[in-house]
Amino acid sequence: MLLASGAAWLTGACSDSTDRTQGIRAALRFEPAPHVGTVHCTVALTDASGDLAACTDVELEATMNHAGMVPVFASAHPEGDGVFTSTLEFTMGGDWILFVRGKTDDGRAFETVSDVPGVRHLPKTAAPDSVPAPGPGE
């Protein structure tokens, strides 16, 4: 029984590690710089050739890599030409992970992953500048 459930788990997991980007890359820009609290995020989606990709149904999921973390979701509004804007709430300091999910113009579901490291608690007085966060692979 253990073996059977083990095998079932294994096969279930294999689909998990496939590349789901469909060649899409996401470049992120935060306004203000990522900090604990509400942050505006601009996402530029490009295809394999580096051109802006017109995608649909785009949504963001921000999470952290530790057990018990409750992820944060936000829908993204199309601004035309593969550029989307959204508002995210970082609920905790530390290293965040941002998933961008949506559909390509030919209807294939994609998912990209980006790191948003070192999200800090804002000192009560400071007004942060706008700093772009690294995109995938940077």
């Binding site: 079932a8 997991a13 604990v36 999921e61 952290m64 890599n65 057990a67 409750v70 290293d95």
Partner: protein, 496 residues
Amino acid sequence: MSLRPSPHGHTALPRLDWLRLPLIGGFLRWKHARLGMQSVMAVLAALLVVEGLFGPELAPKNLSTLLVWVYWRGALVLGLLLLGNVFCMGCPLMLPRELFRRIREPRRTWPRVLRRKWIGLGLFALALFTYEWLDLWASPAATAWAIIAYFAAALFVDALFRGASFCKWVCPVGQFNFIASTLSPFEVKARDHTVCQSCTTKDCIKGTFEAPAAASTTAPRRVQRGCELDLFLPAKVGNIDCTFCLDCVHACPEDNVAVALRLPAEELRVDPMRSGLGRLSNRSDLAALTVVFAFGALLNAFGMVGPVYALQRCMAARLGTESDFVILGILFVLGLAVLPLITVGATAWLADRKSGQEPQAGALARAFSHARRFSFTLAPLGFGVWLAHYCFHFLTGLWTFIPVAQHAAERHGLSGLGRPQWGLGGLHEAWVWPIEVGFVLFGLIGSLAVTWSLAERDFGVHRARAFRPWAGLHLVYACTALWLLAQPMEMRGTFL
């Protein structure tokens, strides 16, 4: 009702005995109750290993990391607080050795020189270190390997040595449970000591043997184990070293064992000869274990707040190293050895001097034995901080198993549980904060009460002078804990 401790540490309390409860009592008296609990836990452990190795790589979406680091740790400390050492009672680590011992009984006994807690203490510190170093809370695969390694170690030790050698001398979780369970409200104990006095068989420690056939030359076969942790019921005091395995319950022919209500921490206020332990005031190893238990609680909480990263970056810059291992290693040596030695040592020295003892040769030795005696007063505070920290994760992530289980079912093509509801979290941090403060204060009150009792016994009229320095240490400890727990949580993959 008066709450007066007897020399054995038994205060008169209303009789409440798990074994006399309807249903639960019947189940626990069933000879295979532990095996039943262990089997369920072992299946769960196997699933966690498979999920850890082959499930989602992201820790918050993996059942293995979630169930181990959020739920198991929370349930562990809450079980200790509300009941007793219930994890050891159903511990799955003991299942492989039960099976192995059906094939081959080990012959060796645990070496005499190792019959102290030093190995267990070292492994407890190592477990805390490994947790930080390998980011176990963030790594399902590492969590799975930790479970596998733990099972292998338990089997290895208990395949070589007789009795519960792994539990008593090696297991870090066990050592944690033994110290924490001094604060538990239930204890396995003899129901009526006069019955023990007239007992001739002592089955609870020796085990029960089948009466040999009249002409048989073979040794009688043991049909029920006695206490494998060397705790002889009539002389057993408190919960230290008791795994709640209930072997003694099944062995006692007089049905004279109870899992009974008692006053938490009371066992720390008395110092009789204890079966399997001797006097606590002679046990440097147990005193050191208690100190590491308490300072480990602070260090473990420190590991997840912002200031630790600032400190680590600063240390990295000063030392010119980027090695997590080195920086963490230094932090652990400071936090678990240097700081406790200085603070506990200085407090003991001060308390000893203040309590009116003439300075004389051997003052150092006296301060040492004073430190050894009073180190146990840190147990309630340490437990309070472990409770506060683990309950924070448990309560703020209370419902997170629902979406993670839904996600797991979905991955395996089972749609019955519905789409994962990722928004489900737990209690708001603002609600959990008073609970955390409550636990730390509960620990502080316990530590102060135990200190006062010990000071009264040891120093009579000078008790207040001996009490004050220790109370000071406890206050500083409690304030540090509250400050740490008040820091916003920060989670980093790496600090550099």
